[in-house]
């Protein structure tokens, strides 16, 4: 039972990462690997505002996420778009994205050193609450509620507002994204902002639970990709469920095999899905034909 | 030569081909016509097992093709072209032709290292053959340029030349004339006649009825995955189902 709860909490973070990733992927159709490291940068910024200006945790988190969102927009406008205009293949985009990831990761390591940092909200976090034989820490509750609120807000935004509908239209119609008119570009910029904003908050949740290192960027984005593929890439609900499933399966793996095999479980799950259910649980677009 | 019986193909719940049955006679030129989405290219893809058929049978000289892999089907003596030219853009024109050669097939590492002499000899012959083909259509100066540098018409021409690299018995052409200038249509018509003269049986998909009337001795009409008519062009042209299939679209 405790494994399940831990799994759902970690899975909630993965779900957030996956939702943001999916949002971007369905508009641009390539693996935006830089996504992971911008989320990590968001964590460092949050920590910076928290420690340097002694701002409230949530305020710091929102500022950090906002700056990350702007960086996400910059990445689209100045790094990806010039290549997309030249009709570069999705592989080229992935390579460029990876190059940028390495650069940002090492910049972070130069500025903040290669150590693991954690973020805490209050001093009384270690205690935890007990009920029904389950222990949940204060941090974990924050994670749970933040994820929930964010997901609900996103759902409302995508389904109830004009901009949300425009984003979904772009995701549904791959043709539209290839004709990058001015208006389409504005929508993609918005997608990059929102997706990155979400990822940065998800990243901060990771920092609450296990801390952060510069090298986590790649792993966060890989988790987002795995969760998206499991859920069915292009589907928001799928991404959420995929994230939860990944979190739970990983925790079961940790319980039975030991912490050293966490990544192994994740990738085994991915391989199984790619081989036997390549369209994921909620398919919209197939990863490869 | 080819016997198709009750062939069914479904893709994601859509019926692409329904109970398709027909025969292709040795040495004939058969036109496969029908409105867009009738299942003409899908039949080629089903024959080559690119989309596996759900039921039915396709027999080639008495051998069942359903369930065989694309390369095995090719080895039996069947060659095809694709609707949108599928020349490989980032290798040379000569290499594109050689890829269609039967004699370099199979090439394995044992032959590369221990059968070097015979392989080299065969390779030289095949290259010579490819160069002769290119010379015939005046494209020998393009042999070593990448295929992506060819014009649309030139790449369609090379696709047909590639068929000559392989002594196939049955050739499936997919819209070999679409989008071509009249001069190029003439060149390709001559090449198709040459394929027939060499004893190959031809099947081809085409929209231009004048060309169908001129070249084919037998026509099969598909609509929505089913055969609606079969016979000489004069015969099917007058059938009301055929007229309706075209006009109703």
């Amino acid at each position: 039972m405790q494994i399940l709860v831990n799994g759902i909490i970690v899975g909630g973070i993965y779900a957030l990462m996956a939702v943001g990733f999916n949002l971007i992927f369905s508009s641009v159709r390539f693996f935006h690997l830089l996504y992971g490291i911008i989320a990590v940068l968001g964590i460092y910024l949050t920590r910076f505002f928290l420690l340097t200006f002694e701002l409230n945790f949530f305020v710091s988190m929102l500022i950090g996420a906002g700056i990350s969102g702007l960086l996400g927009m910059a990445a689209w406008q100045w790094l990806y778009k010039p290549l997309m205009d030249r009709k570069a293949s999705s592989l080229v985009m992935m390579v460029v994205s990876f190059g940028a990831l390495i650069i940002v990761q090492n910049l972070i390591a130069m500025i903040w050193k290669n150590n693991t940092y954690s973020i805490s909200i209050s001093d009384t976090i270690k205690e935890g609450y007990h009920f029904l034989g389950i222990t949940i820490t204060f941090n974990q509750l924050v994670i749970l509620f933040t994820s929930l609120i964010l997901v609900i807000l996103l759902e409302l935004f995508l389904n109830r507002t004009k901009y949300g509908m425009a984003i979904r239209a772009i995701g549904d119609n791959a043709e539209l994204t290839t004709i990058l008119g001015l208006k389409t570009n504005q929508i993609i910029l918005m997608v990059f902002f929102i997706g990155t904003f979400i990822s940065s908050i998800a990243g901060t949740m990771v920092a609450l639970e296990i801390g952060v290192r510069p090298t986590y960027g790649l792993f966060l984005v890989l988790k987002a990709i795995i969760a998206s593929i499991i859920g069915g890439i292009g589907s928001m609900r799928g991404a959420m469920l995929g994230g939860l499933l990944l979190g739970v399966v990983e925790n079961i793996g940790i319980y039975y095999l030991g912490g050293g095999w966490q990544e192994v479980t994740a990738f085994l799950l991915l391989t199984v899905f790619l081989l036997f259910l390549p369209q994921g649980m909620f398919n919209k677009v197939q990863v490869s034909n | 030569m080819l016997q198709v019986r009750d062939l069914n193909l479904r893709i994601g719940g859509l019926r692409i081909l329904s109970d398709l049955s027909f025969d292709i006679k040795d040495g004939s030129i058969t036109g496969l016509i029908g409105p867009n989405g009738a299942g003409k290219s899908s039949f080629y893809n089903a024959l080559f097992n690119l989309f596996p058929a759900n039921s039915g049978s396709i027999k080639f000289d008495g051998i069942e093709l359903v369930g065989k892999t694309s390369d095995q089907i090719n080895h039996l003596g069947i060659a095809r072209t694709f609707q949108d030219s599928k020349l490989l853009p980032q290798i040379t024109v000569l290499d594109n032709l050689l890829l269609g050669s039967k004699y370099l097939n199979p090439v394995n590492l044992r032959r590369v290292f221990f059968g070097h002499k015979t392989l080299k000899e065969e390779f030289k012959n095949e290259k010579k053959k490819a160069m002769e083909l290119l010379r015939k259509v005046g494209l020998e100066n393009k042999a070593h340029s990448l295929a992506k540098n060819l014009s649309f018409g030139q790449s369609k021409l090379i696709e047909i030349l590639k068929i000559f690299m392989y002594e196939s018995k049955l050739v499936l052409l997919d819209e070999p004339f679409s989008g071509l200038f009249p001069e190029m249509v003439k060149v390709i018509t001559a090449l198709i006649r040459e394929l027939v003269a060499s004893g190959r049986t031809i099947m081809f998909v085409e929209h231009d009825m004048r060309l169908i009337a001129e070249i084919c001795d037998h026509v099969i009409v598909l609509d929505a995955g089913s055969k609606i008519a079969e016979g000489t062009f004069e015969h099917v042209k007058s059938k009301p189902e055929v007229v309706e299939a075209y006009l109703g679209n």
Binding site: A88, L91, N106, L275, S288 | G100
Partner: protein, 288 residues
């Protein structure tokens, strides 16, 4: 002089790795991120067999090659079922799994502690302990590797490899058994990575799982992207540049604390610049 020899040896070993990955990725289009894993299996085979079981160098290399061939063959089943982005992901997943095996199977690999005291190779009574001798040995292996791959890729086999890279459907319809070629290429490429691994183990005298993680796989891939896909000479050039340029930074007076970061940033920068300016790489003809 010793320092230059050291660099020359590293460049030569990475040339072998880059050429063999190019055989797999550049010529045949299998963009595998598991090359460093096979490199690692070769290294561990030699390290374990020579330090713990008293094998001499050559048999350990041969066993490493056979073992790698078996593992690569098995891994090729899930990996080659996929294409493009999915293939990249699963090959990376495979390397993560193998990395964790190296890390966690401590009774065999000593885990994160690594294996120390790997002896220099001795072949037919000749000891290759001194650097000039060792360099001559790896250089000979690299030259053999070059001509081995050259012979395959310039034969009709090479045309089929490139055909498969460009379009698997067309290659299959033209009568080529795509999966069989891919599998053969994948295994042969992996075996050469294993050879490079055996030499690395004896050269460094110490190996640890970290040497065979994602970053070295990426580094090899960056080498062939920079040098040019489907160009063996380009791979050597790529290895040369990507080993020497970061090394040259040492002499620019950068503080040692940020040296590693700056080196990695160069790799990232190279990737972006190549994709923007010359997607076919320095000597290649094929754009990914």
């Amino acid at each position: 002089m010793d320092y230059f020899l050291h660099l020359a040896i590293v460049v030569t070993i990475f040339s072998i790795l880059a050429m063999s990955l190019n055989y797999v990725a550049g010529f045949t289009g299998i963009l595998s991120l598991s090359h460093a894993t096979f490199y690692g299996i070769g290294a561990y085979a030699t390290a374990i067999l020579t330090t713990q079981y008293g094998f001499s160098f050559v048999p350990s290399v041969v066993i490493g090659m056979v073992l790698t061939a078996i593992i690569a063959y098995a891994a090729s089943f899930p990996i080659l079922k996929l294409k493009e982005d999915s293939l990249v992901l699963v090959s990376f997943g495979f390397s993560i799994i193998m990395f964790n095996v190296m890390l966690n199977w401590t009774s065999l690999t000593k885990g994160p502690l690594g294996i120390k005291g790997i002896m220099a190779p001795e072949i037919l009574g000749v000891n290759f302990f001194s650097k000039p001798y060792f360099f001559a040995l790896v250089l000979a292996v690299a030259i053999i590797t070059y001509f081995f791959f050259k012979r395959i890729t310039s034969s009709p086999y090479g045309i089929i490899m490139k055909g498969i890279r460009e379009n698997q459907t067309v290659a299959a319809v033209n009568g080529h058994n795509v999966l069989r070629y891919q599998r053969s290429v994948f295994v042969v490429g992996a075996v050469f990575a294993a050879i490079a691994g055996s030499f690395t183990a004896t050269f460094l005298a110490f190996i640890e799982p970290k040497l065979f993680e994602l970053m070295p796989s990426m580094l090899i891939l960056i080498m062939i992207i920079l040098g040019g896909m489907a160009s063996l000479k380009g791979s050597v050039l790529g290895a040369f540049i990507l080993i020497l340029v970061p090394e040259a930074l040492r002499f620019l007076g950068l503080p040692p604390s940020i040296l590693a970061e700056v080196q990695q940033m160069i790799y990232g920068l190279v990737l972006i610049l190549v994709m923007y300016l010359r997607p076919q790489g320095l000597m290649g003809e094929y754009k990914i």
